[in-house]
Amino acid sequence: MSAGNLTLSLLVGVLFAGGSYLLLQRSLLRVVLGFALWGHAANLVLLVAGGPAGHAPVAGETTPEAAADPLPEAMAVTAVVITLAVTALLLALADRSVTLRGDDDVPDAVEDALAGGDDRGSMEETR
């Protein structure tokens, strides 16, 4: 059994914690910032999953044993790009929100604060 990497594990924790704190806010911009932190954290997890640091995985220049695991690296590239795409879309949503409502706060849905407020829809008579 190998040993756990304390620094990277703590970093993942800090990024997730900071991201979570931002996710739980009303401003969509801060939510996006939170997702960005989460994205970094997830990529670091992939990095840790690939094992300890090593040489760049270039065939011929290094051996499979000495190289960093290339698969998580490739997966992280995919993830980074996807995060970029979603970030752009979320920011466009925020922009649209600013256009329509003047701010980027995520408003609450009001339907269920009202739903079932009276006894309509009983077996007796619905209207």
């Binding site: 094992g51 995520v106 009001v110 009202l114």
Partner: protein, 789 residues
């Protein structure tokens, strides 16, 4: 016995004929109006003829059967079987069905709207009901059972234009399907315990034990609700808002008998399983008494008949569920009798209602004098209902008394109950006759003409049938024995008009006299009824349950579906921490060995990342927060580079730069500062965030301590040169796992389209009226409503 191919084709054709003729009649309705029912009536009429033709064979103990499999994996077969009981019910369903449809031609003649649906559903119902009594598989029976419920819902609701129709339809639907679901579970348990879903096989080898007992309770719930027994009964009087042919057919003769039929079908097998007899007998007697008592209080003739029906259904339940031969014989006879007389009386009320415009007995006068033929028809039916000779009702009631005069557990109180119930029956029979046909001084007569013969004829046929059959006791005995012979013959009782001076004859006399006395003393009875303090009614209880469920649903939904994104994410994060996080902490725990870092540089960059993260979280000036975020991103890219992932680091740096620009472009248009969040939530938010962070650290530590080497690295290194170059990471992206990349760039392309559609749409929306494009939000609608008030 091998399936009989000939009858398979014929029965299938008959059932199909209902479907086809329903469609044909519905198609004809817009052109010929209610006369389309004549076409529809062909289906039950043909079925009736087939049943009559098959009767001698069946009664000789040779049931007809056929097989058809719907879904083998689910044991969903549709075997059909015609035995004595099915024949009995089948004759009722098709016979009454034919006459009611003929009657409908006249009844619905003036109707403009909704006839297409009414026609189609009535004919469909006839088919479903026939299928129900012929089905030899519990699941097939259930299918037909629920079909009749849906037909009932649509027919009760009619056009659904007023609240009474709507709520009556919904009540009938919910009570009967709700109990139907219990029935389904019961039937499945029963089938599982018996090892077969075949009714005939279950009856031949009945299951026992706890599972059978549970099944019995659930099956009975379904059967009792369908047959309007206490405490499920309120849906039936409410259903009387339906047009009279519907009430006569569905809610007197046919559909409500489905529950009775099921009880009769299973009683030979399950009467000995413990909760069966106590439930059946107690509920039956209670229903009979309650129905009779409430019938005496009605002023609406139709509701009077409805409560009478409830009482009679209770009576039938006692007889057919008791599980003895004599009781079954009596039950079979009473079932025939009830179908004939109750349908007749409903049709008579329908005629009165149609011609006089009311069916309230306080507003009716002189009907007997103006329509004597109608009075005679009703009188014939009432003879049977009250149990007077020489009617079929008399045959049944004599046999019923006989069945419980015999010694047996609990027979004493059951006998007392059915005698009392019969007294009430006589009393409300008289009340009906008095109410419909008597002269009332001071009331304006409303009946202007004698109802046409074609209108009265179906009722007359049914009414006469009760007397004709009563005069042919041997025929009735043969029909009823077809079912009763399912029981072992203890001492052979036969239906007859004269059994000598026996206790049943004496009891019959008692009921007649007491019933007549009760009718004569109606004013005093009414006074007594008024003096009784109101007891909680079943109707109120059902409404209470509905209100309770709605209140609970409203409360739950209001308090949880709060519509707040932070709230929802909070729940998600908590779920992750408490569920998987809990398992990790409790069952896996902390790894034993650590290393601080791979290289000290990791720690240096790590400190920078931590500082930057704190900055992003704490800074409320948007632009600064975004810039600090980039610092996190670039630091992470450095970590990638240190780790031996230059491709990833390069992508990260470039993406971070682009991201930064996107951020800057967007926040130009936003307020510079984010509003400070309310203090209340800050603590919760911080706690949850720390929990997530702790879980993430724990998970990462665990995996980095328990990591197993990749299974693919060597393969990649070996194959890379042949695929175009030595850069393994890049080859994974463009070759080995190119499918992922294909998906990923698709995401990019669509995101890009989405950004454009989100932002650029503005110019197109401008100038178009908003209402045309958007569902108005709930809040706006509320506001509009407020304005309207």
């Amino acid at each position: 016995m091998p399936p009989d191919r000939g009858s398979l084709t014929l029965v299938a054709a008959l059932l199909l004929a209902h479907l086809v003729l329903a469609a044909a009649a519905a198609a004809l309705t817009p052109r010929v109006g209610s006369r389309a029912l004549l076409v529809g009536a062909l289906a039950p009429a043909a079925s009736f003829a087939w049943l009559v033709a098959a009767a001698p064979d069946v009664l000789a103990g040779r049931p007809r059967r056929s097989d058809w499999t719907w879904a083998e994996t689910l044991d969903l077969e549709v075997p059909l079987r015609l035995d004595g009981l099915s024949l009995l019910l089948g004759l009722v369903v098709t016979g009454v069905g034919t006459l009611v449809l003929l009657y409908g031609v006249h009844y619905f003649a003036d109707r403009r709207h909704g006839m297409v649906r009414t026609t189609a559903v009535l004919v469909l119902f006839a088919g479903a009901m026939l299928a129900l009594v012929l089905a030899d598989n519990v699941l097939a029976l259930y299918v037909a059972w629920e079909l009749t419920t849906v037909c009932s819902f649509l027919l009760i609701g009619d056009e659904g234009r007023d609240g009474e129709h709507r709520s009556a339809a919904l009540r009938a639907l919910l009570v009967t399907t709700g109990a139907g679901f219990a029935l389904l579970l019961g039937l499945l348990l029963l089938g599982d315990a018996a090892g077969t879903y075949r009714l005939s096989e279950i009856v031949a080898a009945p299951p026992t034990g706890a599972q059978a007992a549970t099944a019995v309770v659930l099956v009975l719930v379904g059967a009792l609700a369908k047959s309007a027994q206490v405490p499920f009964h309120p849906w039936l009087p409410a259903a009387m808002v339906a047009p009279t042919p519907v009430s006569a057919y569905l809610h007197a003769a046919a559909m409500v008998k489905a529950g009775i039929y099921l009880v009769a079908r299973l009683a030979p097998a399950l009467a000995e399983v413990l909760p069966w007899r106590p439930i059946v007998l107690a509920v039956g007697v209670a229903t009979m008494l309650l129905g009779g008592w409430r019938a005496l209080a009605q002023t609406d003739l139709k509701r009077l008949l409805a409560y009478g029906t409830i009482a009679q259904l209770g009576f039938l339940l006692v007889l057919l569920g008791a599980g003895t031969r004599t009781a079954a014989l009596a039950g079979a006879a009473m079932l025939l009798a009830h179908a004939a007389f109750k349908a007749t009386l409903f049709l008579v009320v329908g005629i009165i209602d149609h011609e006089a415009g009311t069916r309230d007995l306080r507003e009716l006068t002189g009907v007997g004098r103006r329509a004597p033929g109608l009075a005679v028809v009703a009188g014939l039916a009432c003879l049977s209902m009250a149990g007077l000779p020489p009617t079929i009702g008399y045959l049944g009631k004599e046999a019923a008394f006989e069945a419980f005069v015999e010694p047996g557990t609990g027979h004493g109180w059951v006998l007392a109950g059915i005698v009392a119930g019969s007294v009430l029956t006589v009393a409300y029979t008289l009340r009906f006759l008095w109410g419909a046909f008597a002269d009332r001084p001071g009331v304006e007569p409303r009946l202007e003409r004698r109802p046409p013969l074609s209108f009265v004829a179906p009722a007359a046929v049914l009414g006469a049938a009760g007397v004709v059959l009563g005069l042919l006791p041997s025929v009735v005995d043969a029909l009823a024995s077809g079912h009763a012979d399912a029981y072992p013959v203890e001492h052979s009782y036969h239906l007859a008009l004269w059994h000598g001076f026996s206790p049943p004859l004496f009891l019959s006399l008692v009921t007649l006299v007491a019933g007549a006395a009760l009718h004569l003393a109606r004013d005093r009875v009414d006074a007594a009824r008024g003096a009784v303090p109101p007891v909680p009614s079943a109707e109120g209880a059902q409404d209470g349950v509905a209100r309770g469920v709605l209140a609970a649903a409203g409360g739950l939904t209001r308090s949880t579906q709060v519509g707040s994104l932070p709230g929802y994410l909070l729940v998600v994060l908590l779920a992750v921490c408490l569920g998987p996080g809990g398992v990790l902490l409790v069952q896996v725990g902390l790894p034993e060995r650590y290393r601080a870092w791979d290289t000290p540089a990791q720690a240096l960059i790590g400190v920078a990342v931590v500082i930057a993260v704190v900055g992003v979280v704490r800074i409320h000036r948007r632009i600064v927060a975004v810039l600090v975020l980039s610092a996190v991103g670039y630091s992470v890219a450095l970590l990638f580079l240190l780790h031996g992932a230059p491709d990833l680091a390069l992508t990260q740096v470039l993406v971070e730069t682009v991201t930064l620009l996107v951020f800057v472009l967007v926040i130009r248009r936003m307020p510079a500062e984010v509003r400070h969040p309310p203090e209340v939530l800050r603590g919760v938010r911080a706690v949850v965030a720390l929990m997530v962070g702790a879980l993430a650290t724990l998970a990462t530590l665990t995996i980095s301590a328990r990591r197993v080497p990749s299974r693919s690295t060597e393969g990649y290194f070996a194959e890379a040169p042949a695929e175009g170059g030595p850069n393994v990471t890049n080859l994974i992206i463009s070759e080995f796992r190119a499918l992922d990349t294909l998906g990923e760039v698709t995401v990019l392309a669509i995101a890009s389209t989405g950004v454009a559609s989100l932002v650029l749409v503005t110019s197109r929306l401008r100038g178009t009226p908003r209402g045309g494009h958007d569902r108005p939000g709930r809040a706006e609608r509320e506001a509009e409503k407020e304005d309207a008030r």
